[in-house]
Symmetry: C2
Subunit: 343 residues, 2 copies
């Protein structure tokens, strides 16, 4: 295993590189306060650290930079949680300062603040509507041919979709449909609606309405949209200021992935509760080669709701970002629980 001195040197290398983005050499290290031995000694230790795979050179006679394995070790063993300062805390609190009740808005604000505090790109996976319970379904006819179906969940999420009305349906029929739907489906988890719709509601509709199956499909369609969680971003352009992204090709790759959303969604979706850290190629995504992704989950009560994440260069201020994510996700969970639990 690593000696104490190796650990110290390694830690200083990582900390310095995170700050300067420059390979750090033995001379630079020997001048640091924490370090009291000569550059030659450091060179020997660095050779060992390199052999172990924790650091690498960019060319034969360059200083060293942490390898992905190095970052992984750093994150797993050396990280000391950073205490947030007054200003950070104030900014985080400001997310909830205004009286906002919509879940989505709160989450969106969180993304914005998070990106401002870190200067990285923040990503928030919106509340999963899947587990929400249906509060109410409404259908509002716009004209003879089209109507709009509106679904309201217990957390106040509203989803709507237009659809074609079957011919010859009258207002009374429509009201009947709505009543049946609410009767049978209110309180059921959104996820289960489709199933219930076809199993329980279909029979009832058939008894009361002509042309019932046209309606049925339209309603099923409407319900389905809700299944996907929304992604919110903050500071999409922050990465452009990072020196590792002076290369347009890298920028293009990354931005393309961000714009497509699908890739990001996959990366963020599958994470477990709590803090997760994926470094560089651990993300299994070529556009993320020089990036790390740190995610944290937020919840209402014990029910995991969504994910909040930071995308930055592998040379990221892990300590600060983790502290921030920890703090924000806890705050977010607390506020949301207070607002929505057993409402």
């Amino acid at each position: 295993m690593l000696t104490d001195r190796q650990l110290l040197i390694f830690q200083v290398i990582v900390d310095d590189f995170i700050q300067t983005a420059q390979p750090v050499g033995s001379r630079t290290l020997s001048k640091k306060e924490e370090i009291s031995f000569s550059s030659a000694t450091i060179r020997n230790e660095m050779a060992d650290l390199e052999e172990l795979g924790f650091i690498e050179k960019t060319h034969t006679s360059s200083g060293r930079i942490p390898s992905e394995k190095g970052y992984r070790y750093y994150v797993d063993h050396l990280l000391s949680p950073q205490k947030l300062n007054q200003h950070d805390i104030f900014k985080v609190k400001s997310i909830f300062a205004e009286r906002i009740y919509e879940l989505e808005k709160i989450v969106q604000r969180s993304a914005k603040i998070l990106s401002e505090l870190t200067n990285y790109t923040s990503i928030v996976l919106g509340p999963a509507v899947r587990d929400n319970k249906l509060k109410k379904i409404q259908i509002v006819p716009l004209n003879k041919e089209t109507a709009i179906a509106i679904i309201i969940t217990d957390t106040g999420h509203v989803e709507n979709r237009m659809f074609h009305l079957p011919e010859n349906i009258d207002a009374g029929d429509l009201e009947k449909v709505v009543n049946i739907l609410n009767d049978r489906l209110a309180g059921a988890p959104i996820e289960s609606l489709n199933n219930k719709l076809y199993k329980e509601v279909a029979v009832l509709l058939r008894q009361h309405i002509n042309n019932y199956d046209f309606m049925l499909h339209s309603i099923a369609d409407t319900i389905q949209i809700s299944a996907y969680e929304k992604l919110f971003f903050g500071g999409k352009t922050n990465m452009l200021s990072q020196p590792e992204f002076h290369d347009i090709e890298k920028v293009k790759n990354l931005m393309n992935m961000i714009e497509q959303e699908k890739g990001i969604y996959d990366l963020i979706r599958k994470n477990k509760a709590g803090i997760n850290i994926k470094i560089g190629r651990e993300n299994n995504n070529s556009a993320m080669e020089n990036c790390s992704l740190i995610t944290a989950s937020y919840s209402i009560g014990t029910e995991q709701l969504g994910t909040i994440a930071i995308l930055g260069p592998t040379r990221m201020e892990y300590s600060r970002v983790i502290s921030l994510l920890d703090y924000i996700s806890a705050d977010l969970s607390a506020v949301l629980s207070k607002l929505y639990q057993n409402g």
Copy 2:
């Protein structure tokens, strides 16, 4: 004024530069089919064109590139509308191929297709809800303290907002409020709602409901959101492939503006009906120095609804972009009119 020969030379310069992004010299020009005089002659003419401000050099002995004034002249006098090919038309038609009824979705698809066809960034200013008429207001209580207000317009736009309920309000009261609101406001333009709310509805509410003015403000708030049009983008990263944006600083400026939306909104909002072209500094925006913005409006019947635009480098394929915008905006208007007029 310009002689025919100067015009010819100028046109060929612009066309060539638009295609290659390289300054074009007299030798290159003399080899073109359209041009039958020697490079020396061309040099003389170019000197004149430069004196007139239509073209410029990048350095003393470079070829020429069109100036902003040059592009302006080109656009105003030399542009021949390009005939769209089969593939383009097919793609445009595909916007409306699926049965979509939501205005916003159609508009969003248009943005996507437009950016794919041009390889530039497309921007669509969504339908102005301001002129929509109110179809229905609904209020759904979520729990004792909060309720959600939902506004539906005659075009099927749905806007919703959560608000705090006053203490001690019961379901009956709420129903009364909703009835009054729909009674008095249905059919009124969204723009006028606020006014009407305070002038006509307030009195009625006072007669029937305790604590009415808390409700009043909440509802007024909800109504207000609808006033801003939404922006949709397509191909945000396309600009990264343009050679003029190999400079990270320029990219950063432009992307920042796009991310903030406010700047774009201002640029697009104030345009007149039909096609508008703003070249480089005509946009009055430092981030747009190397960009041109072409906008077209779309409408339902005679009522202007929104704007559809292309953001590209000043060295843009004006002819093609204009033809496309013209075609799409006409199609869009036609389809929307059919769907929503006198619904």
